[in-house]
């Protein structure tokens, strides 16, 4: 099911596409020129709507429809490109910027034209310091070639693109927290509604999209809706850059049409190359840390939004983490929830306290070897109190690892209780706490 031509990871077809001249020689920035000189912004929005492009940042929301939510006649508007990429298992934005940066910048510029924004910010996680320089250089080249700035290509369109680095906070990937952060505040999410399209950055209408989403746009405009829709499935058109990691022989990013079976991604010699040392698959987390877990029973699930949801999980950011039988499920839940505890912004109680207590109990059970039967009930009770009560999706996501582990591998928790030697069901002091 391989691709004859990549849509986003084009460095696989054109090895030095990160070079501005090479990108230009292969039609780079022509879609933008065509849009500015021959199409109206509304035409581009319509095209993206018809393409069925869905947001790659996690929710899979149709991009053209989101763009259509902008209130008419309200300016200025802002475009934000979300490159906070901090969820465990996701690393495709990082590669897109390193290997095909000009397509992203063209995508940002084209999308800004479509939504009539004259300023766009690319918000990058602080750790992407080197990648930020790659983008700054690509932006400088686009200015020098006359694609950014004032009165671009003789039209009335003005556009400035800036790179803005965060400083180490996963929550700033949440769209409203990102706006808070960009406004110079701590990254705590805002209440929705109002949605960003109505009142976003500086209270102005704002569109926010993921790096991979925006990198698709130039190709849709260049090659047309029919070509784009010839990839993937009816409801999930196009391709996805799957970030495959864990106990596979060939971890990495693989761009494949939506609908490719999980098994093919993991086992094909061109992609995952099978499990390391031939060990069996135990846990598959198909959409980044927030996705409910799947197991070896789900290897035939096609990787598109609908099918993964039907299997009880979510495609999310398309980060597929595959773990083998050497891992213990309670330990994976502990590590995952430690991530969420670390990244909880502290704004709301269910998440701040819930993640804290999940980690404390799990740490004692898994790391200190003290587990009682009551702990299992406590874990159930903590995540139930969190579910549905958190202010943003980070807290809701933190429910998934522990809920999945308890549902799929209850015997492993029971085994921890049995193994726990140094107690008799009595109160056990919390020895260590990180």
């Amino acid at each position: 099911m391989g691709l004859s031509e990549h849509i986003v990871m084009r460095e696989l077809d054109i090895p030095d596409i990160a070079d501005f001249e090479v990108y230009r020689r292969h039609g780079g920035w022509e879609a933008y020129r065509y849009a500015l000189t021959e199409k109206t912004p509304a035409d581009i929005v319509q095209m993206v709507k018809e393409s069925g492009l869905r947001g790659r940042g996690g929710a899979g929301f149709p991009t053209g429809i989101k763009w259509g939510f902008l209130p008419k006649g309200v300016y200025p508007r802002y475009l934000l490109c979300n490159c906070d990429e901090s969820e465990p298992g996701t690393f495709n934005n990082h590669q897109i910027i390193d290997k095909n940066p000009h397509q992203l910048i063209e995508g940002v510029a084209l999308s800004a034209y479509a939504i009539e924004a004259e300023v766009a910010y690319i918000y990058m996680r602080g750790e992407f310091a080197a990648a930020a320089r790659t983008l700054e250089r690509a932006i400088a080249q686009a200015y020098a070639a006359g694609f950014l700035g004032k009165k671009i290509l003789g039209t009335d369109f003005n556009l400035d693109i800036y790179v803005h680095r965060g400083a180490g906070a996963y929550i700033c990937g949440e769209e409203t927290a990102l706006m808070e952060s960009l406004e110079g505040k701590i990254g705590q999410p805002r209440l929705k509604p109002p949605f960003p399209a109505v009142a976003g950055l500086y209270g102005k209408p704002t569109i926010i999209n993921n790096v991979e989403t925006l990198a698709n746009v130039p190709r849709i405009v260049e090659k047309g809706v029919a070509w784009y829709r010839s990839h993937g499935t009816e409801k999930s058109p196009g391709t996805k850059c799957f970030s495959l990691s864990g106990h596979v022989n060939r971890p990495g990013n693989y761009e494949l049409p939506f609908g490719v079976p999980l098994r093919e991604l993991i086992e094909s010699p061109e992609y995952g190359g099978g499990m390391k040392g031939g060990r069996p698959v135990k846990i598959i987390i198909p959409g980044g840390a927030s996705a409910p877990w799947l197991t070896a029973d789900h290897l035939d699930v096609p990787l598109d939004y609908e099918s993964v949801a039907a299997a009880g999980s979510m495609l999310g950011s398309g980060a597929v983490i595959v773990l083998n039988d050497t891992v213990s499920a309670p330990h994976v839940a502990y590590k995952m929830d430690e991530f969420f505890k670390h990244e909880s912004c502290g704004k709301c109680t269910p998440c701040r306290e819930g993640t804290h207590w999940l980690v404390r109990v799990l740490h004692r059970m898994v790391e200190e070897g003290h587990a009682t039967a009551a702990d299992i009930d406590t874990l159930h009770s903590i995540y139930r109190q969190m579910a549905g009560n958190c202010f943003c999706l980070l807290g809701e996501s933190a429910v998934m690892p522990i809920k999945s582990a308890l549902a799929l591998f209850p015997h492993e928790f029971e085994a921890l209780v049995k193994q726990s030697s140094r107690h008799n069901g009595h109160h056990i002091p919390l020895m260590v706490h990180r």
Binding site: A18, P88, R125, R133, E183, H247
Partner: protein
């Protein structure tokens, strides 16, 4: 010399990018951190003055974001990813090797002020585990046997590192070659496909244990080690 005196043009250019001055707080804190080595009270107040903010607002920001240091750190801050999946692909072994070689624990600095060791969450390079950042320079495929090479290299680059600071404004990426040399990745080089070694299936396949209690500490799990990309 104040921040404004030494970096006036840069500060003005940064502030001009935003509709509100306050938006420049993260970039200016990075600048201050590179200038002073870490965020001293004085540095924080300077940033507050430049942006016409109450100092408490800037303190709050410094406290919220993990890449800001309000106390002295080593010339190199080593941030090792210990998240899922890295922790099952050699990260714990790497951290153990670093602790042993450096003689420090997490969140400590070596007595010579050269290295600070930190555990961090996913660095968005899970396919290159074990992975760390040295002052936001990525270093990929750092298996424990490569720790000595890495530390030697960092020591010899220390003078340069002091110039570049801990905010990554001039960060580079590094990787190990198959024969164990540490090389800088050309930022703007053509794409080079990675090579993989497919490990043969274990013979005979052992049945999965119901619980693998040592999974986190598993010190000899060669099957989780990944070959170098070159």
């Amino acid at each position: 010399m104040t921040l404004l005196e030494t970096h006036q043009a840069e500060i003005e250019a940064i502030v001009a990018r935003y509709a509100s001055k306050r938006s420049a707080v993260l970039p200016l804190l990075y600048l201050a951190q590179d200038t002073y080595g870490y965020l001293t009270d004085e540095a924080i107040r300077e940033v507050a003055t430049i942006l016409e903010l109450p100092a408490t607002d800037v303190y709050e920001v410094v406290g919220f974001y993990t890449l800001f240091y309000n106390r002295p750190v080593g010339t190199w801050v080593l941030q090792v990813c210990d998240d899922v999946p890295c922790c099952y692909c050699g990260a714990e072994e790497l951290i153990a090797a670093l602790k042993q070689t450096l003689g420090i624990h997490e969140d400590e600095t070596t007595p010579d002020g050269m290295f600070t060791l930190q555990r961090v969450k996913c660095l968005a390079a899970c396919d290159r585990a074990p992975v760390l950042q040295a002052n936001l320079d990525y270093v990929y495929d750092v298996t424990p046997d490569r720790v000595q090479t890495l530390l030697n290299d960092l020591r010899s680059r220390a003078a340069e590192a002091r110039k570049r600071g801990v905010s990554g404004r001039f960060a580079e990426d590094y990787e190990f070659t198959r024969d164990g040399r540490l090389v800088q990745i050309e930022r703007f080089s053509p794409y080079r496909p990675r090579e993989f070694v497919i490990e043969p299936p274990a013979q005979p396949a052992t049945p999965p244990p119901s619980v693998a209690p040592e999974a986190d500490a598993g010190l000899d799990r060669p099957d989780t080690r990944k070959a170098s990309p070159l």
